[in-house]
């Protein structure tokens, strides 16, 4: 690393959002430095399962107001665009990221759940998603590995998956090849300025013209250093992997009411998630798996895919998920803070990451956006998010 860390754009956070923003900025010829408190691409970006989601998630939306869900569903074109972008990236990136589109299946095991799926599919179709309902015969013909206790499903051919670890490494390598710099184990301990920013990190001070906060679960803490309060909540969840075996599961599977995402990776491991609660280790402060969550999540997997019961579980790990009040990302320039940008997401970070990052990079580089995401500005949470004193002073 050269003596001076000073840069045009400093990206705080080396996860998917940070790496993808750097990837696009480097393509646009903007000088960029990415810093991370730990390894590059180590936290939620490495912990997530690499699923590309399009279907709504009734199991997590059950507690939400119907209007909330309706408004959230209006994001569908964004999701579709994001998945298209992954296809482009898979062609552009220098390594195989194991991108596949086998389609996603959300199973139901009773008539009530089928009714939920019917409503869900109607709302999805209204917003432009190709999705169809399957009766049991059609479900078992499409996915013979699914339990006969499942009576039907919704099927979305456009859903898919990739290797989240390799995708991140590929984005980083490509950004590096185009001149972006990365600095790991540089925790930002102070951030100040306007027009010219000064970040105090554990590996020295960094001056920059622009700053992007892309620190995932830590974004709130970083933004508070400059008097901005990102309305984020966090929850640790876990994912489990079985031993690798020959492919017997094609699709990305979900359950209508139970917590489940399940798929088989390119390497052959069955990956089981669904948002089961994890905890924070009291000694090390890192996300850690809970006994009951782990066992119950595996029961749901076996309940839906009985054959998975024969496999050995070899690894479970936890990561922090981030949530915004409306389930939508918070993106782009922070009004009244010249040069300050935000790139965080409400879960679905893997699906939406590059798409959101491209918009932020375009905004920084002053390029016309391929898709205008200005509606996701933090502005929508004013005054909750933006400290009035600070705003007054700057204005």
């Amino acid at each position: 690393m050269s003596a001076s860390l000073d840069t045009d754009v400093l990206i705080i956070g080396g996860g998917l959002f940070g790496c993808a923003t750097a990837y696009f900025l480097a393509q646009f010829g903007v000088e960029t430095l990415v810093v991370d408190a730990g390894d590059i691409g180590a936290e939620a970006s490495a912990a997530n399962a690499g699923n590309l989601h399009l279907q709504l998630a009734p199991s997590t939306h059950a507690a939400k107001d119907p209007d909330w869900v309706r408004e959230f569903a209006e994001m569908m074109p964004i999701f579709l665009g994001a998945v298209d972008l992954w296809q482009d990236l898979a062609r552009e990136l220098p390594r195989d990221i194991e991108l596949r589109f086998p389609g996603g299946i959300m199973v139901a095991e009773n008539e009530r759940q089928m009714a939920i799926l019917r409503d869900k599919a109607a709302l999805e179709q209204e917003n432009g998603l190709a999705v169809e309902l399957l009766d049991q015969a059609a479900l078992l013909a499409l996915a013979p590995y699914v339990s006969e206790q499942m009576i039907g499903a919704s099927y979305c051919p456009g859903e898919g998956m990739a290797n989240a670890l390799l995708a991140l490494i590929a984005l980083r390598e490509s950004a590096q090849a185009n001149g972006a710099r990365f600095l790991s184990h540089a925790r930002v301990e102070g951030l100040e300025g306007q027009m010219q920013w000064l970040a105090k990190t554990t590996r020295g001070p960094i001056r920059s013209r622009r700053v992007v906060i892309a620190a995932g679960a830590n974004s709130h803490a970083v933004s508070q250093m400059v008097g901005v309060s990102l309305p984020l909540t966090c929850r640790a969840i876990h994912i489990t992997a079985t031993e690798p075996c020959a492919r017997f599961i094609d699709h990305l599977l979900y359950h209508t009411e139970r917590r489940l995402t399940l798929k088989q990776s390119a390497n052959g491991n069955v990956m089981i998630g669904g948002g089961w609660s994890a905890t924070i280790d009291p000694v090390f402060g890192r996300p850690a798996v809970l006994h009951d969550s782990l066992r119950q999540s595996l029961w749901v997997a076996q309940h839906v895919v009985p054959r998975s019961g024969h496999l050995h579980v070899i690894r479970a790990w936890a990561g922090r998920n981030v949530y915004t009040p409306d389930g939508k990302p918070i993106l782009g320039a922070v009004p009244s803070w010249p040069g300050l940008y935000v790139a965080v997401c409400n879960t679905y970070g893997f699906t939406l990451g590059p798409f959101c990052a491209r918009f932020v990079a375009e905004q920084i580089a002053g390029r016309p956006p391929a898709r205008d995401l200005a509606a996701f500005s933090i502005e929508r949470f004013r005054p909750m998010a933006i400290n009035r004193d600070r705003t007054d002073r700057i204005e």
Binding site: M1, P244, R258, H291, G309, H310, L311, H312, I314, R315
Partner: protein, 589 residues
Amino acid sequence: VTSDDRLAKARATLRIRESGIRPVVPLVSFNFDGQEIAGYEGETIAAALAAAGRAQLGRRRNGSARGLFCGMGVCQECIVTVDGEPGRRACMTSIVHGMNVISCGYAVAPPPSAVAAGPSPTIFEEPEILVVGGGPAGLSAARGAALCGTAVALIDERAMPGGQFFKQVAKTHATASAALDRQFREGGALIAEVERLGVRVWRDSAVWGAFGAAEIAVIAEGRQRLFKPKRLILATGAYERGVPMPGWTLPGFMTTGAAQTLMRAYRVLPGRRVLVAGNGPLNLQVAADLVSAGVEVVAVAEAAAMHVRHSVELLRAGWHAPGLIRDGLSYLHRLRRAGVPIYYRSAVIAAYGEDRVGAARLARLDDKGRAIPGSEFDVRVDAICAGYGFLPSNEIARSLGCRHDYQAEKGLLVPVTDENGRTTVPDVYVVGDAAGLGGAYAARERGFLAACAAAQSLGHHAPADVERERTTKRRELSHHRAFQRALWRLFDAPVLTTQHATGDTVICRCEDVRLDEISRAAQQDDASLAAIKRQTRAGMGRCQGRYCTPILAALLAKQDTPRDETALLAPRPPLKPVRLRDLAQEPDA
């Protein structure tokens, strides 16, 4: 050819013939990849196949043949599909008449037979003291705790306690006590006493999660149980280091411990022409036992110089443990009488063969452990036993947050404990080799002392004779430690990691990750263990990084290597691979 002929042929195999220890169960037969194999009911699949001369247990997706490696359930290399169940360890699974075994357990999909997910509620167990591990330290801890009047439970992963050092002859054989050496007899007596004292011994039971000192998740005798002890004593022992070199994944290349288990527990020989190589006295013992059993030991290669100037260490060791030194000298004597050459400051640096080891290359080592050019020579063998020392099995203690020190030069993570084995986490003790390598006898004393301290902390009073034994044990422990220090100096040798690996040598045996892939990933200026794992999959396989992460850590070792727990990857549940349906529990409504 009749079935009887085949069984008769099976008897004339690699089984040890002896008078004092003889099989007492009938020969049965099972199917292995379509061939009928004979074995004694209750012995492991790996032992029966080794006896039949079948070293190859599977093949990787890339075509490479694999066989028995660690022999103690750690490396997961020997997995096979048993009656449709993939992922079973041949070294831990007993044969049953008519069983159908298929090699290559990882390359098949699970059978289509549906298994309904049952409710499987957690069963709670609340012993006052829970001891994990039934080796010298664990057995002795259970004995001490019971003598102090506590309700104690002991969990052991194997069908019979004893661990590695006190491993007993399998139940397939009857033994005349005259045929048993001191190690067998002492272990047998300790096991018998633990049972007599009413310790609840959970066999075939494995801890898969440590979610808190009083939240120890176990598959115990086939059921999911959560142990909530008041005190936890970890006596999880150690496992053998892997030293990567060309050909080290070939069937027939195994750890010295694996060969010892085949011989001592199952009375089966690892091969007919065997090379024993490594560092430490275990290799001499196994080589001598191989010779006594009629095997041609082509050579012993010892990485230490064992120079004559070390004889003062030998004398010192002899003063502290005359019995062990006598044993050691008798191994050397047996080897010399059989004409087995012992090469000091030498090592096996490569193995050759198609689907089984056929030859080994030996070389003299320089002081960095590298082969001295020109010193190499080849020997024809059909098995190689490599024993390069041990690493503590510490994943439970690490999961619980016990503080560890990282000894970078040896690549060891050692828990910080007081003289009674108490760790930095309240109510958790670590004893034996898991608490830093010290040998079986030190482990035995440490287990006893920790148990007495734990019992006392629960308000139990040690009877007078136990108090006297504590005093004796403390004194003996200092002798054992002095002996161990002398032994280490005697066997002082360069630590072997990647000195003999080439670019295409597999480092991560589970995921088949080669040294050149790892070196590339390690070139990033911010490379870390975790980053290499994410990029290459090294450490993501079934052995959960136990064999490759110490090698990766050595590759990355720099001045700024953390000297604590974080030097290695964080252990994650399950701590051992566990069948999904054994973990599944129906969610609350």
